[in-house]
Symmetry: C2
């Protein structure tokens, strides 16, 4: 198992991962972040053992695992930096919400020693101060091996997640992006757009609608408080799948709108009933 883990990106996800491997696997951790404040806070809070804003410092730490926990838009630049300071055959994984071509790009740098990973765990909170060592417990982690992935590397990453009490499943990198484009990226886009609509409606009605968060609005839009940079990168990186999902969703909403507009009582009940049954199936 891993002993020395470097975490690139000391935010909520990277911090939670650091706490988890420290407390559950006894690892030493090293945090890398371009923001010195994140490193300082991470060390003060005991989230990371050591840290630096300089990639070069990783050389002395000699990690046996490096985990990318930065927004996906920064992966290429980070990979370029890591490539210069890491020994070959150091294992690399990530916590990113988009896989697809990113996985193959990472393989261009690290060959079979990159294992794509996506823990299905998170929160709308951001920042190392919210780090939670139990974040991954009983959660799913999707790993996205390819033909090229080193089998031992894959087994080690899988075993590590299982020791953090996560459930590991494998998925093709591109299939992953179709699935999460629909079930995660679309709902986030919708939540952000709802806030935009509410702002416009507040102006047009001259009523501050944000003062009336009852009736489902509050829980429904919690994810709109998520980190903007992280989500911009996810939206852009998974653009194609997300745009498709948005288009399908708009058509679904237009259909519902038509049923309401034309007072189609029976079809409206059927539409809502079917939606309800699907939702109940999730629980």
């Amino acid at each position: 198992m891993f002993k020395r883990v470097a975490i690139v990106g000391v935010g909520f996800m990277g911090g939670s991962f650091s706490l988890a491997v420290k407390s559950r696997l006894g690892c030493s951790t090293f945090g890398m972040d371009i923001n010195p404040e994140a490193i300082k806070r991470g060390k003060e809070l005991g989230v990371i053992d050591e840290g630096s804003t300089q990639m070069l410092a990783l050389r002395d730490f000699e990690p046996d695992l490096v985990v990318l926990a930065v927004p996906v838009g920064a992966f290429e630049q980070v990979a370029r930096g890591l490539k210069e300071v890491l020994d070959e055959k150091v294992l690399i994984t990530d916590l990113g919400s988009v896989k697809g071509r990113l996985v193959y790009m990472m393989e261009d740098f690290f060959g079979g020693y990159f294992v794509g990973g996506h823990p299905i765990a998170g929160t709308e909170k951001s920042g190392v101060q919210y780090s939670n060592p139990e974040l991954f417990k009983n959660k799913r982690v999707v790993l996205t091996p390819t033909q090229r992935t080193d089998r031992l590397a894959l087994q080690k990453v899988k075993f590590m997640w299982e020791r953090l009490d996560a459930f590991v499943e494998f998925m093709d990198p591109f299939v992953h992006d179709v699935v999460f484009g629909a079930v995660s990226h679309l709902p986030h886009a919708v939540a952000f757009a709802l806030m935009d609509a509410m702002e416009k409606l507040s102006k047009k009605t001259n009523i501050d609608l944000f003062l009336y968060p009852g009736g489902g609005f509050k829980d429904f839009t919690r994810i709109a408080a998520s980190d903007p940079v992280m989500w911009r990168d996810i939206f852009l990186e998974n653009r194609e799948n997300l745009l498709w999902a948005i288009e399908e969703f708009i058509q679904s909403l237009e259909k519902l709108k038509g049923l309401i507009e034309n007072e189609k009582k029976e079809e409206l009940i059927e539409y809502l009933q079917r939606a309800r049954e699907h939702r109940l199936r999730i629980d």
Copy 2:
């Protein structure tokens, strides 16, 4: 204060109200429902003291307060029935999510003795078996008096809600519908439509997307499990405001889609940042 309370519609809302006034105000309650099963279960569970499927039975109960807890589409028919069996000057209120013209319609039947009410409390669960006597505690209740509303009746209803630890506020019936069309009815429409989109995407991708409820999807769509008849009636009754809100929302989503499509990095961050700030303001 009220001693004998009749509740028309023995579901989750009516049941919760019955339990609340029984336990907190010592009222006797009488449940009316067209479904004999609801009456039977309500009595067995001690949610209502007595009950009947026959409106005529209310005459013997001699209520001093009648509360409508049926879907808003049934209000007119219920009002017609109540008018035949109730003494004049019996106070009537309701728990409905739409007010507007419904309030004036109810006044045509009951004059100033109807007080429109909307407790901002609920759940995606439906059925009398989920009734919760604490449902209204620390929740807002919007009352929608008009010029015609009897002032003493209004004070009595307000005082009753306050004794159930709810916060009462007054709002014009039509303003109420603009506000809740945006902050409650729109999110529900969106959640139902998301389920429809997910069903279509599941078919088109040949992947059962409902098996991947992580990443915000589950909490985000909880309200799509809400009662179809109740929501059909709300959507149809508040049609005009809801259609407007849906239109504004689709435009917001199209705007976001455009920013993603054209990779407008800066404007995308601004959009998400502004959404985030609005959302944080709610908490």
